[in-house]
Amino acid sequence: MITKINEIAREIGREIKIMEVCGTHTSAIARYGIKSVLPKNIRLVSGPGCPVCVTSQHDIDCMIELALQGIHVSTYGDMMRVPGSKSSLDDVRMKGAKIDVVYSADEVKDGVFFGVGFETTAPMTAAALKRQVAVYSVHKLIPPAMKLLVSEKYGIDGFINPGHVSVIIGSDVYKDIAAPQVVSGFEPENILESIYKLLLLIKERRNEVVNNYSPVSNEGNELAKRLISEHFKLCDSEWRGLGKIPQSGLEVKDSKLNAKTIYSDVLKNVKAKENPACNCGDILRGILEPRECRAFGKGCIPERPLGPCMVSGEGACRIVFEND
């Protein structure tokens, strides 16, 4: 496979920029040392597919404010250490706020659940809404973000599409994104094969979607999609680094379960202040690579992160830092 990749990269000749959208792919690529076996003219950049990384500072500040107000808050573990403007959920918990880390949305019985994640995780939050649990939703959708990256012309030649988001949404939805794409799994041989298939599309300038991960079907998981549309509606969403992307988020349909509505009085005073030394925005667009960030490894390390890319297990910076 590596020989075939080298051959076709040579035929293409110029520098080729491939973006792996999903943080789990970034992690797998680093773990298996995939970059080290690829020819020099292929540049793999990581995209905005790390839900922790693209959650806006404002939303994190809002959850911290709810916790400070004595509201019982539940969240997945990776959100705990993301720095807000003044502190983090972890800091606030140490000061006595009632914050529970959960592995599954099913564990949440009351209070507010922080609905973070893409289409893979939205059905689980929908299941919690079905049980009448209140939710602060920052769920985001992958295809609108990909469309933005293509339209803003960041020079991305092709995409490695997420595996598990695609199990939920199916591979058909990517067809109206004007770029070569391959849906990939997570084993090293599969990733290399996906890169090879993507190079073939790039060489022939074919804006097509190839599915290279068997659990993904054309239509995806109908039960999950139905549950999402029962409990969520589309909304504009603020993506850290990418700005506001229209119709790229999921908002809770039932205002009685929407924490943003229930606690609007508390939340209206929250004003986020982003750290100017943090370059996560450029990292998430594939403009800057982790080592090119001035703060990487110095002002920003996993123990003292400036931004989410260094906190999350799927953050590009943390992955580079830990695989060195």
Partner: protein
């Protein structure tokens, strides 16, 4: 956050399964799939998202 692990359904009661992940057993919500005992499922954040074949990683 998009990590999903394969596991085998040992028991299934209502919408909840007991799933074996290479020796570790966990309760998994199966409301998103049509699965039966003995099926291998991909599990994300406590929910099964897809029934898969044993060799799904290689296909």
């Amino acid at each position: 956050m998009c990590i999903a692990y394969p596991g085998r359904i040992l028991e299934l009661r209502g919408g909840t399964a007991v799933v074996d992940f290479s020796g570790a057993r966990k309760d998994v919500n199966c409301m998103l799939v049509e699965a039966k005992v003995g099926d291998m499922v991909l599990v994300h954040a406590g929910f099964a998202i897809r029934v898969v074949d044993d060799d799904y990683k290689d296909k």
